[in-house]
């Protein structure tokens, strides 16, 4: 994933819940890209998906 793939605003979430399958709009053709270092993908792959459940803090000011 590179966030540069999209230069328009993401659509506003209509409601919380599963992402609708039928409003994706026209699909872009699949283009094979040369593998290049992508620090974002590297870090997303390493992301601790449970971090949010474990993260608790004291209230501050």
């Amino acid at each position: 994933m590179t966030t540069a793939d999209r230069t328009t605003r993401p659509p506003a979430p209509r409601e919380t819940g599963p992402k609708p399958k039928d409003d994706l709009g026209p699909t872009t053709p699949k283009i094979e890209r040369p593998a290049a270092p992508n620090p974002l993908i590297d870090r997303l792959n390493k992301l601790d998906k449970d971090a949010a459940k474990q993260y608790r803090q004291r209230s501050g000011q």
């Binding site: 803090q57 004291r58 209230s59």
Partner: protein, 483 residues
């Protein structure tokens, strides 16, 4: 226009491996104590008055969060006198344990760009301390744990005592609400009120009051604690609570510059015609509006929007103030961003934290077909705030050019009173017995000498002799006694 002295305090999120909120006060104390570079230990808190309200009264006690208070059971491994682990750093900043959070308070500066650079330096200082800490620790520059606990970033501005609070509120509150569009740090979900998938502001859920002396509970947009850190006859400190911790350095400069403009306009007696019917409701609705139109209700029932309110400030600033080049450029950038919000999303999201985060998370969610409630999205939010350069999603976005890189530090050196504090710590630390925002106390030849640092004066480094402590003190006194 008078250049408005400003500073930012940030309480960082901290998570030590195997520990939790019950031990957090002790962890933060031990963490700050691990700061590895030269500093002065001995913050002078004798003149702090947290219960005194700027509106002319004193409260008996400050409110506490009853949920949070339950964590106060754990023993702390330090004497009370060392609980804060207060340090004054060699750049003039204060670094200490504030209620379980390592807090970095920037040195004061007149320039918004300099305040932002000093705030960014705080991230480096926190990370440097993490390397010296000796235990696995995660640090987050954010303002929420996503479970109902919030911790602050605050801004302080030096304001003439002659301005009444009514004048200040009328001139500043619409700006505080409207600037969220250009300065919010962004957050997945909500912690109070109606559910939200994503918000522009990390802190919006937590405000219930317009102004209050409290900050831990029933949080206000403005804190009214009467601690001017200056001569109280002439000055007061405007303590802004309604702000987020930004990662984009230019966004930090933007929020400070916008408030400096609003304060300067207030000093001229100006206030926007667009006064909000309910500022708390407005900041929360702007934060949650993902249609990006940001409507607000004005007094009298008319409608407006955050961008229209900002435009009124920009017009007034350009018409009425002699803007510094820095602030003139800032107004121009803000006008560009408001336009880019509709016409050039790529440019907007590269300069505004909430947009960069929203874009990243929306893309990830779409590719992985996740609900907005999926906790993975909060993990991404935390990843954006993560200070670890190897793991931070924000740093990855900068590396890829998706988000603007921090600017080069300003060429002009800071010349606020913080420079005097910094030089005292760096060169005359062995003579210091107390340091605060306002005062330096030295012990020289068995004599105590206290010097006041005036917030309205300039302390250029080249004018402060470093040959010996007595010449240094004498130079500070000359500035103190200047008309």
């Amino acid at each position: 226009m008078r250049e408005v002295l400003a500073g930012i305090e940030t309480e960082y999120g901290i998570s030590v491996a195997g520990r939790g909120p019950t031990e957090q006060v002790d962890d933060a104390r031990r963490f700050v104590s691990a700061y590895p570079s030269p500093c002065f230990v001995g913050w002078d808190s004798r003149f702090e008055t947290p219960r005194k309200d700027i509106r002319g009264f004193q409260v008996a006690h400050l409110s506490v969060d009853p949920v949070d208070a339950a964590f106060d059971r754990a023993p702390v491994t330090a004497p009370v006198s060392d609980l804060r682990a207060d340090r004054v750093l060699a750049n003039g900043a204060r670094f200490y344990n504030d209620h379980g959070h390592p807090e970095y308070a920037t040195p004061e500066a007149f320039s918004a760009t300099q305040v932002a650079a000093l705030d960014h330096e705080g991230e480096r200082i926190l990370w440097q301390t993490a390397q010296a800490f000796g235990e696995p620790v995660k640090l987050f520059k954010n303002n929420t744990d996503f479970h109902g606990a919030s911790y602050g970033t605050h801004e302080s501005y030096l304001v003439p005592r002659g301005l009444t609070f009514d004048q200040l509120f009328a001139a500043l509150v619409p700006m505080l609400v409207a600037r969220v569009v250009l300065c919010g740090a962004g957050k997945v979900g909500s912690e109070h009120g109606t559910p939200a998938a994503f918000q522009l502001m990390q802190r919006a859920d937590f405000f219930t009051e317009l102004a209050s002396v409290d900050t831990l509970f029933k949080r206000p947009l403005f804190n009214t604690r009467d601690e001017p850190h200056a001569n109280p006859e002439h000055w007061m400190r405007l303590h802004v609570i309604a702000t987020d911790a930004n990662r984009i350095v230019q966004a930090t400069a933007r929020k400070v510059g916008l408030m400096q403009i609003a304060v300067a306009l207030a000093e001229m007696g100006w206030q926007p015609t667009q006064q909000l019917a309910n500022p708390i409701k407005a900041i929360q609705s702007v934060s949650r509006d993902l249609t990006f139109s940001f409507p607000v209700e004005l007094e009298g029932g008319a409608g407006s929007s955050a961008p229209r309110i900002l435009a009124e400030y920009f017009d007034a600033a350009e018409e009425r103030l002699t803007l510094t080049p820095e602030l003139a450029q800032l107004v121009e950038e803000c006008r560009f961003l408001l336009d880019a919000l509709d016409t050039d999303w790529g440019a907007f999201k590269s300069r505004v934290d909430w947009a960069a985060k929203y874009h990243l998370i929306s893309e990830y969610r779409a590719e992985n077909d996740l609900d907005w409630e999926d906790p993975t999205l909060i993990a991404l939010d935390l990843g954006y705030a993560d200070l670890d350069p190897e793991e931070s999603l924000f740093d990855a976005l900068v590396e890829m050019g998706e988000v603007v890189a921090p600017p080069e530090p300003p060429l002009e050196q800071n010349d606020s009173r913080a420079i005097a504090r910094a030089l005292a710590v760096e060169h005359f630390g062995k003579y210091l017995s107390g340091v605060s925002w306002l005062r330096l106390t030295f012990e020289v030849n068995n004599r105590t000498q206290t010097v006041e640092l005036r917030p309205d004066c300039r302390y250029p480094a080249h004018a402060l002799p470093l040959t010996d402590v007595e010449s240094f003190i004498e130079a500070l006194r000359r500035i103190q006694n200047a008309p």
